[in-house]
Symmetry: C3
Subunit: 322 residues, 3 copies
């Protein structure tokens, strides 16, 4: 297929075919990361702005490296140091950045819909790096990429998302991508954090861990955001761990080839024990590697790069090392 | 003409011919910003340090992009994280940076004259990115560039600078450049903020808005620095807006082809209404674009680059895309 | 000799021959810094991460420039903005960075041994940019490089290290390198800051300044860390200066060709007067220049670059300007 979108705003609005196109293209970029010279000239002379109004070192670095390896120039713009504090609107900030002939605005913002808003007012490409509790599409894509790489397919997989789902943009992006590609999604966690409102999305919702993990091909653990004060809705950390933390015993109740995933950073001993996080079922670090490949693919495609097909031909000129 | 200066410290000391040389060269670099590959090799292997002792995200990013597009390497050095806090002098900090074989020090500092001081102790090129209430020469240049591009000339223009002029380095740099190039400058604002001391500079000074805008070809609005506590000299924001804020009604009293300018970030509803800021008379975003071109031209010229003439020949080798 | 180490963790474990190899290679990279185009392609397509868990602008910038001039991509990761605050372990942070296909982790950390720990868990190259009170190997190397360049040799030199030695990683790295290369080391300062425990390392320890400087070929002044609260061990600044500060009078008691060194940033009027710091014996700024060359050499060698011999052949292909 040809890629036609100017932006990557969410996974809800993508077709299954579009998602697969990103995954196929990302596979090629993952191979670039194994080379001695890990750079391709695809975005040379382009500028990527990381506009992070909500802080995130990990995601920012992943996008920064993705841009560098495509030979783009990168500008980091964080809210702390910015004129946003002087009362400038997000729209004005973004249009000022665009006026500097920048080509991509990668935005993280605490307000759901901020990337969509920018998409309407900018000609630059907009990439959502996480907007409030709404979506985190490149995280969803890297999760699905990892599952597909390890399991060979998404259709028919049983995927359990475990933890603090209520306000999780990671969960939402996972659910959209997984369902579009034919997986069955189970959501599990304390009842206050996994309300029944997710059932209309087609997910199984349960508070019973044993039920949620028994037939899972993948268990995707969400980070417990314990630095946020949500006392009225959240059990104690100890209580959470005793009920939902994944340890060796609970791993033994899962399928022998189950994948354990986590978007990071992990709280060792809280949502997952070190035994499991560092064990043979865990693909947590590969998710990080795949995130870089997915972000390179997204920047490449929305810039007009030619998608890679499932059975790829020899390296395209754009991917030949500089 | 040949360019002979090692630094760009202020506009007061430049000749009209030098200013025009920067503007002509900037025009070529503006065209670079429209290309698919927005990079030229002019400063490859050179290092630009952004030494920002007073914070400014917008100006820092504009210089950073200017350096990147000239293929220079860029180091950002902000006072917050620096040894300036450990009591090192500005001179020692700058000489240490120079000892790292850096070629350009772009300095913003709260003390007037800091760039001139560095210019005397360094062999590296020094660019003033704003020094206290003294000058902000690249802002003055981009403002004049924008007026000349839109009006075709500066000589004979009536330019009104409106607002908080007393401590404004933007106003001072504008005044020097405009008068050297033959414009007539009017300063307007509350009497406490626009004292009569500017009259010896050859400016008309008035507190009557109607008088200041009636014959203006350009109205350059300065940002109200309401985050600074200057209660004894400044009316309330509401009072300022009611007396000097530019809205649709006041725009209607201006010449039909008046340009509305602002160095940004704008306070919507204070010094300018959104109607006007986003309207057809506003060139506020083009100023941002032109600022990048002007900064590229300045770095290029003080590095010894060959100036571009008014009627430019075909692209010079230095400007051919890498 | 061939270089075989994957990391640079400390000078204690290096042989004299390895130290000399770094110094010889650094000499070639110092020459690169004098070129018009100060870049070589040796690390093109590689990524260097500056993982600074303890802040240091000067050292970070030196490593950043070293990486840029070797054509590597650079990511700055500081603890302030990082997930280390969210409770992630150093190991997890570093392995996440490695999972992004990064090649070098340059780490500064307040805990002694942090780089050694990372070296065991990472395949990426690890460079110690200062670990607690343990070592600061590139500082030690640049100090020895500077002495050798100025004096033509290290063996037989009398080197006095003066000041706050007790918790100084700079002192420790100096001592190791100097003794391996055959210098005699004297440590001098207030008794509380230079305990006798250094004598087993083979150093002369004294509190008598006159004795320490009389026969010194080099006096290396350590920075007084007066921003740290160590009231019980430290005399007042005034008292320190009156007893140990180097001024014109004390310089007159030294050998006529003594070198005055300081790792910076200097406290003018405390450990050294401006007369001396800016005088003909001072090589303080050359140390900065040499630090860049040493860091380029270290990154180059641990990446597998071919060392340069004492009598260098014509420029190697890796060092030819891009």
């Amino acid at each position: 297929m040809r890629w036609t979108r100017k932006d990557l705003l969410d996974l809800q609005s993508l077709s299954a075919e579009e998602i697969v196109t990103i995954l196929d293209t990302a596979r090629e970029f993952k191979a670039v990361g194994q080379r001695v010279i890990k750079k391709v000239p695809a975005l040379r002379g382009k500028t990527v702005v990381n506009l992070f109004v909500e802080p995130s070192t990990r995601t920012r670095i992943s996008f920064e490296l993705a841009a560098q390896r495509l030979s783009a120039d990168v500008i980091n713009f964080t809210a702390e140091a910015s004129s946003l504090k002087k009362g400038e609107t997000l729209k004005d900030t973004a249009r000022n950045l665009e006026a500097l002939n920048t080509d991509f605005i990668v935005i993280r913002h605490s307000a759901a819909g901020a990337p969509h808003f920018l998409s309407r007012v900018l000609e630059a490409h907009v990439v959502n790096a996480g907007d409030g509790a709404h979506e985190h599409p490149t995280q969803g894509l890297l999760d699905v990429f990892t599952m597909r790489e390890k399991k060979g397919r998404i259709a028919g997989l049983n995927v359990t998302i475990l933890g603090d789902i209520l306000y999780s943009r990671v969960a939402r992006s996972n659910i959209w991508a997984l369902q579009k590609l034919g997986a069955r999604v189970t959501l599990c966690g304390p009842p206050t954090l996994v309300p029944q409102t997710f059932e209309p999305m087609g997910c199984r919702v349960t508070s019973h861990l044993a039920e949620a993990i028994a037939d899972a091909d993948v268990v995707n653990l969400l980070r417990i955001q314990h630095e946020r004060q949500r006392k009225t809705m959240f059990p104690s950390l100890g209580e959470y761990t005793s009920l939902f933390g994944i340890n060796r015993e609970r791993l033994a109740c899962m399928k022998p080839d189950v994948l354990i995933m986590h978007p990071g950073p992990i709280n060792r001993g809280v949502e997952v024990d070190s035994d499991v996080a560092d064990g043979s079922h865990s693909v947590i670090l590969e998710q990080v590697t795949n995130g870089l490949a997915v972000r390179m693919a997204v920047l490449f495609l929305i810039n007009g790069g030619k998608p890679f097909a499932a059975a790829s031909p020899p390296a395209e000129p754009d991917l030949v090392a500089q």
